[in-house]
Amino acid sequence: MTELVRCTRCVLPQTHETITFDENGVCNICRQQEKKEEIKWDGKKKELGELIESYRGKYQYDCLVPFSGGKDSTWTLYYLMKEYGLKPLVVRFDHGFLRPVLQENAQKTFRHLGVDVHQFTPNWKIVRKLMLQSFLEKGDFCWHCHTGIFSYPMWVALRYNVPLIFWGEPSSEYTAYYSYDQPEEVDEKRFNRYINLGISAQDMRIRLGGDVDERDLMCFSYPPLKELRRINYRSVCLGSYIPWDVKKQTAIIQEELGWEGDQVEGVPPGYEYEKIECYMQGVRDYIKYIKRGYTRPSHLASLDIRNDRLQREEAMRMIKEHEGKRPPSLDLFLEFIGLTEKEFLEVAMSHVVSPHQFDPAKVADGVKLHDFTKWSRDGAMPREEAIVQLQRWGGRGETNR
């Protein structure tokens, strides 16, 4: 296996999306953080106050907060209500894999804070088709979740006429699709830039050979700009206005709301606040490891290094110990999309990002989580259905390596 070139400061490797290295080998994401320090946060907070006041009290709800129950959306909701006394509409998109602790966290949060909640669960049969198709096309099965989470709340905003929408952390914490000094509006451009994997709902329907009803894809499609403009919408990241500090924020919601972290497959102890929302997270991270040779621990370590909470050598040790194990949730995933493990590996490996190379023989088994038996196994994809999609895809992802 080729050893990947990593940032000399954090540990993100050359296969990370949008990464570049400067003459000192420091990556652009680290450099972006320097810009974060330059931002005049007082001025930003003032802007936030002005933005809020321009919408407060004028609509059925002062703002809309898309919510998963993870640390970021919980913090966003808590902060807006505590700091500004807003009346929000909470919108929750159910991707199909919500975990028990997460559900309890959400319940606690809603009851402590007192909010209206609008929750939506898309058609599972459509979801599993979409999971398989996006896995085949892009080596990423989460298309329905990425798109649903970002477009569904916009439809709700239209329906209830709630034009101010607050999201959580800005993407510049993770990637260079936007930098800190660029205003990150959470709009269709951003949706197209990196949320929808380069596939709109319209495109997905074509890729599925017209096999789905257009109406079934509506919750995954971004509403027309004209409609959003009509209600004078603003869709922004709270993290563009206040500095994002994950550890501090998590401590507050634990204290104030009884929010609890959870174990996640492949994540070292000490990081129980991260990515606890989805029981397919382990598979998602594993696929990333297959494609790009790094996964969740590298991300977590890099964030900690940048915030002076971890030394690089410790980080490298942590990565070696925890990354790249086969998650037990893979068994469920294979049933949901109707593939064998061999087929799964073939598809995932067809999306490998060079110069990384993956050797399936070198993978150890990961540990089952405490709620593993509580995860639903209902709704397996019939094999014939999976084959139709597999054949249509026809191995066009094959490359010369």
């Binding site: 000094d181 660029q182 205003p183 451009k189 403009r229």
Partner: protein, 205 residues
Amino acid sequence: MIGVVDYGMGNLLSVCNALEMIGAQVTIITRPEDLQDVERIVLPGVGAFHDCMRNLEDKGFREALDEAVLREEKPILGICLGMQVMARKGYEGHESEGLGWFDAEVVSLRSLDSSIRIPQVGWNDVSLKEGSPLFQGLPRSPDLYFVHSYFMKCTSEDDVLGTCNYGGLVTAVVGRKNIFGMQFHPEKSQEYGLKLLQNFIDWKS
């Protein structure tokens, strides 16, 4: 209301689409007298300097533009050739007179470097002068899309708000009071181009 001048030369469709995309109310101006009904003006242009000036004059736009821009001080943005004709003179083909709003001459890019490939077609980064409200929310050197063989050489550096490098220093943005010009095509420059158009729409004296 923004008026986009149609004098028979120019990529009206793209410019109008871009202005509509950013939410402006746009009308196409085919008669000089219609300039009365708009608050802001955009002068697009693709083609040759002397053809442009002749068309403007023949259609009676010359006096109407002087009135609207110099006397009524309506904000105006010239794009590509539309910016170039704001100069005193142009030397494309033969010498011809421009609108004279900028003390400048329009000369060939080859005058900077005779071996340079013309026209300049493609993206180039533009260094923006600090402090202009026209550049609010933009990075220091955004990439913008150019298609041109001639450029505006200004006598006064104060008029130059942005430059790019193509064989030498090339004027990319000019501005003086209510009059602005962009050599590149903001309507073809994706996000930053649209932001520049937005800033022009929002500009107040």
